[in-house]
Symmetry: C2
Subunit: 381 residues, 2 copies
């Protein structure tokens, strides 16, 4: 019975991993606080243990505060941010539904793909990468169809643009549609007000401004959205992400669904505690100040930010690559010579920008300074 046909030679077993000491200034993950890393390393309890159930309740309560919502159905999906996007789409969309999606970067484009895989007829509302989606564009699209859902990306991680939400939400509601918001990069770094903005479905990620490792996707659904999911004609196409099943596990019944990622929930609990201890207002101000300091330093080097003036994200800065400079080479040198990670541009912005993240724990004046010094050294400016 024990025929092990491919015993790995002892000398072939890889060495234990030793990560280099990176400063994470890319599009995420961001730096993680020592207390959160310590929480990750706590011994495990079972996923139905009374102490874990209490932890789940505390996470839900803290997430509600961070999302600024009273939605009961607020919890972390057991997957990364893209799983949260898929969670919202599979539960709310049925084949043949008309869905309006704002596309001004990678993540709007991804939502189109996900919604189409749910059988939606997608009406794309496009803006150039780096610009915001204008309410007038959504209003025009609404005139062409009967949307069940209007979806936009709050903070486009691929371009550094922050689209204002309130007016678009109002348009969606007036059209009788649900409103879906991607807050992967905004949550914890700038104002996200789910109830004030009347958002029906929202997803985020843990590895951006919450400064928790990637692996969970905080989501929240309004009562309107839950009703749509409950009254579907067709079963949700994903068992793993079916909110009607997840509700019994994260709700009062505690019915076994899947095994929650225990350690990741430990980490999220601690990361949310740190957010609330700092206070959302203080945290947003810190992000704003770091952005302004970065912008000032870039300006002194003759560099600018590519995204739309007046709508630039604090936490993700699309720094324009100067004429004649090899974007990839600078990025590689930042990593190899200075242990600083920044992101590359994507799509039409490839080679044209560096994406400099100032998210959560990374958003510290000392880190901004460290980055500016390194960039100045490499660019000789």
């Amino acid at each position: 019975m024990l025929q092990i046909t491919q015993i790995m030679n002892a000398s072939a077993i890889p060495a234990a991993f030793q990560p280099p000491p990176r400063l994470l200034m890319g599009p995420g993950p961001s730096d993680v606080a020592p207390a959160v890393l310590k929480a990750l390393a706590l011994p495990l309890v079972g996923h139905l243990d009374p102490t874990f159930v209490k932890l789940m309740e505390e996470i839900k309560t803290m997430l509600r505060t961070v999302f600024q919502t009273e939605n009961g159905m607020t919890f972390p999906v057991s997957g990364t941010g893209s799983a949260g996007m898929e969670f919202c789409c599979v539960n709310l969309i049925e084949p043949g539904d008309e869905v309006i999606v704002g596309v001004n970067g990678v993540f709007g484009g991804r939502m189109v793909d996900v919604a189409e895989r749910c059988g939606a007829r997608v009406i794309k509302v496009e803006a150039p990468w780096g610009k915001i989606i204008e309410p007038s564009q959504i209003a025009a699209a609404i005139k062409t169809c009967k949307p069940k859902l209007v979806a936009i990306v709050h903070a486009e991680t691929s371009t550094g643009a922050l689209t204002p939400v309130a007016e678009i939400s109002k348009l969606a509601r007036e059209a009788g549609a649900l409103f879906l918001l991607d807050t992967v990069t905004s949550l914890g770094g700038c104002a996200v007000e789910i109830d004030t903005w009347q958002v029906d479905a929202v997803y985020s990620g843990t590895q951006k401004c919450l400064s928790c490792p990637p692996g969970l996707s905080p989501v929240s659904l309004s009562e309107r959205a839950l009703k749509v999911a409950r009254e579907r004609k067709k079963k949700v196409q994903s068992w793993y992400l079916d909110v009607n099943l997840l509700a019994s596990y994260w709700g009062q019944e505690r019915v076994y669904h899947h095994t929650a990622p225990i350690s990741m929930n430990y980490a999220l609990h601690e990361a949310l505690r740190l957010v609330l201890i700092e206070g959302l207002g203080n945290r947003f101000k810190r992000h704003e100040q770091c952005h302004l300091a970065l912008k000032k330093g870039l300006d002194e080097m003759g560099l600018g930010i590519a995204s739309q003036e007046g709508h630039q994200l604090w936490q993700l800065n699309a720094v324009t690559v100067p004429e004649g400079v090899d974007e990839a080479d600078v990025r590689k040198r930042l990593l190899s010579e200075h242990n600083i990670e920044v992101g590359a541009g994507l799509g039409p912005l490839k080679g044209k920008i560096w994406r400099v993240g100032l998210m959560g724990e990374t958003a510290r004046p000392a880190n901004v300074e460290k980055f500016l010094v390194a960039l100045r050294t490499i660019l000789k400016r």
Copy 2:
């Protein structure tokens, strides 16, 4: 802009989580080795960092050894075991496909649900809970349809039965069907031989006999399975789990797909190292010996194991609850008085069995003894 409407009162912020020191003898998660917890707490690098790419490669290589396969497409899906089940189904099944699923417990039943959500016409092959699926049953089912896929659960976590695989795989292949195997509870605890058994698609979980926290699902697809996924008529209904997209991220191209759960991959890397350092043969023997020690101790108390004789899992023991004993009360006392977690029975076995896991790090003679002493104390036997 900074109207924080629901500032959480500082006194309402939950305290840092302090888990009680549990011995995890339930159906998973199992105890996690200190070295794996330590790996979880290492500082993060980016998910496209060259050092993380190297870590991914090492994980793939080690997983191949543990699965006993040369399949290139062997990697951890960024979700728990049920996400792995869904990964296999969404990629291989198209609407209208006929799929045979063996159902002898919770997880076979779950596979039926997942396959139906992919549009499959499912032919169920059922056995009483605790019994195995017989090859003759599969052979009979094959005569009634033209299956694209035959799926069974190797080690049923809900009943403690181990279904032999080789003959069923042969039947599937002869019928021109792909063969899908759930190894969530078997992998790392007893022989799993993907290439010898000619398994086309397999998924597992990290939190059982690999003794890594829950959060990832190791999977492997054969070339035959990959071809089926590549040549689909319809797009895979899940963007998050689409192997055609994941192949570019986990393959040589390193195209950004989603942000991999960095810390969980650190943990899996270390957990796999520990498995290989121990050696698969030694590890299986340790699981067998613990099972035999448990069985002997139970026998001395007049207790038995409910699953089919000759096919009882080493790593998950369905201990029969004696007449007149309150199953739930004993389980609660094991937890509250002895810090030992065991699992409850599910479905038809609810109230009739305790599920005693001896998985990975938990499978130690001292733990078996600790459990027997605690049970003896509570039952006064």
